[in-house]
């Protein structure tokens, strides 16, 4: 008898857990059916009258946007207190793969158009920032690296990213235009990992974005790549088609494109749209 009632309690517990999951499911579907018609609300329209219900949007952004999108998130949340922004950074290729596998992204900010084109979007894919490449070396440039060709010198530990990651494609373009062939010692998952390998002192050099050199501060220095061999990385932003908060996602994108948003980007070393 007592063991029966105990097992009955366990079954009840299972039911409670199951119903919790079910409840989560329903609330998610309710949310998705909410305000899709309000997509055209402009960033200039400040939230007035009654406070809207709190909303959380998920922004997937390229690793190189980490610092500037942390700024962006803070400024945007200050302007729209009812919207919470959750950011997730990674290689644009990894983020695109995640989105295609059902990751709940509302906004995708990619470091190249190739990876943006891999996902389904709603509305325009708008260019919002540009970036330049630089060679990142250790403080004091102990290996005396001054040109792309120096990367190919024996004894220089050069790191780049795995195939598909935007910085890899941009770096390969720059190296090809200078007719330099380099054998890397490692193919990292994203540009952030390239930076870490250099700032930690393990690798000698890597091609990264100018914004990464600025963000690294005193732990690394940049070597300028001449315009003739340099590449302009163009960053597009769009609403992911799976977004359940398209109105708020649109607000965020408009904020990125606004003067305030552009200032945050140029403040971190990006070239404005």
């Amino acid at each position: 008898m007592s063991s029966f009632s105990r097992s009955g309690r366990v079954v009840a517990l299972v039911c409670v857990i199951a119903s919790l999951f079910a409840a989560c499911g329903t609330s998610a579907t309710l949310d998705s059916s909410l305000p899709t018609e309000a997509v055209s609300v402009g960033a200039s329209v400040a939230p007035t009258t009654t406070a809207p219900a709190p909303v959380t949007i998920v922004v997937f952004a390229a690793t190189s946007l980490t610092a500037s999108f942390n700024d962006m998130k803070a400024a945007f949340q200050a302007a729209y207190p009812y919207i919470t922004v959750t950011t997730s950074y990674g290689a644009s290729s990894a983020l695109a793969a995640n989105i295609n596998n059902g990751a709940p992204a509302d906004v995708f900010a990619s470091a190249d158009i190739t990876n943006m084109n891999r996902i389904n979007t709603v509305g325009a894919k708008t260019p919002f920032a540009r970036n330049r490449l630089e060679i990142m070396v250790q403080p004091g440039n102990p290996k005396g690296i001054n040109t792309l060709a120096d990367l190919a010198r024996p004894g220089v530990l050069y790191v780049t990213a795995a195939a598909g990651v935007p910085i890899r494609n941009y770096s390969d373009q720059a190296l090809a235009s200078a007719a330099v062939t380099v054998t890397p010692v490692s193919l990292e998952a994203n540009v952030g990992a390239i930076v870490t390998k250099i700032t930690s002192g393990n690798a000698d050099a890597g091609i990264v974005y100018r914004t990464d050199v600025i963000a690294a501060g005193s732990s690394a220095v940049g070597v300028v790549i001449p315009d003739a061999n340099n590449v302009v990385a163009e960053y597009p932003i769009a609403i992911a088609s799976g977004s359940t908060h398209q109105a708020e996602a649109d607000l965020f994108i408009n904020f990125v494109l606004s003067a305030a948003g552009q200032n945050l980007l140029t403040g971190r070393g990006f070239i404005g749209k």
Binding site: V10, V159, A162, G164, E188, K197
Partner: protein, 289 residues
């Protein structure tokens, strides 16, 4: 103590035979089984079976498989050389702070591997605590080298061997060692001919688990050693990166790793937990006669 064992295990067996598990336990257990079965099923169903051979035969995959085998077997050998003495010391030697030493030496088992990678970075990297001298004096550095992979794998895998063997050594009656030694056997001879054979099942289980853990090592490897085909790109690393650009390759590699893990566990059967002690006791009896 060991004389009680058979009686106790028979009693347990008969009780288990008679009672029926409660419905709730069976239901919850079924959920747990599904929880583990579904992800595997997902891979098995989605795997591009027609192109499996083609993908496995691609040079970078073959390179990764070969590198993984080479590194994991070396890591297992290193774990054997250093881990067995460690297990012996932990099981037999009485010294203050033994618990702390055990915790220290097995922490990497529960540590997120990426933390292990970061720790290796700051200790054995080119600018690390010890690594800077390795580089300055010998021009030798671990990051971006196959040895870096082996070090990362040994770091996370050795505790599996140490804990398994230590547990077996504790079950094993030290008086047998004493007897053998009193008959004139040198400590090394006694260890090799009496102790080791009697813990053989646990030793094998520990080695296999250690090897499987080394084979699956990812976080510490990519953080510390990097990723380059033929040098540091092991199977888990290539799998992780392939998810983004070549999902079919990722699926096939996952399938391969699952098959290996499954074979390992089926091969070990119940040597890992519980019955390992009985198996040890059985061969202990054999050694005694």
């Amino acid at each position: 103590m060991s004389a009680i064992y058979p009686g106790r295990s028979t009693r347990r067996r008969t009780r288990r035979g008679r009672s029926r598990p409660p419905v709730a336990a069976v239901l919850l257990a079924s959920v747990a089984v599904l929880f583990f079965a579904l992800p595997l099923l997902g891979i098995v169903i989605r795997a591009p079976w027609r192109s499996v051979w083609h993908i496995v035969n691609a040079s970078e995959v073959r390179q990764a498989v070969w590198l993984s085998l080479k590194c994991s077997l070396t890591a297992t050998s290193l774990s054997f050389v250093f881990g067995i003495p460690l297990a012996w010391v932990l099981a037999r030697a009485n010294f203050p702070g033994r618990g702390a030493v055990r915790a220290l030496c097995t922490m990497s088992m529960v540590l997120p591997p990426v933390v292990g990678g970061v720790a290796l970075f700051f200790s054995l990297g080119r600018k690390g605590l010890v690594g800077q001298y390795l580089y300055r004096w010998f021009g030798f550095m671990l990051p971006f080298t196959t040895w870096g992979v082996i070090v990362a794998q040994t770091f996370v895998a050795m505790p599996f061997l140490v804990l398994t063997v230590e547990a077996a050594l504790r079950q094993f009656d030290p008086r047998l060692d004493d007897a053998a030694r009193s008959l004139g056997g040198s400590p090394w001879y006694v260890f090799r001919r009496v102790t080791l054979p009697s813990i053989r099942p646990a030793l094998i289980a520990g080695l296999v688990l250690c090897w499987a853990r080394a084979l699956g090592e990812f976080g510490a490897t990519i953080t510390f050693a990097g990723n380059y085909p033929g040098t540091t790109q092991t199977m888990p690393v290539i799998t992780y990166l392939a998810i983004d650009t070549n999902p079919e390759q990722a699926l096939v590699l996952s399938l391969l790793l699952i098959a290996i893990s499954f074979a390992v566990l089926v091969g070990l059967r119940d040597r890992w937990l519980g019955t390992g002690a009985n198996a040890g006791a059985a061969s202990f009896g054999g050694a005694a006669s």
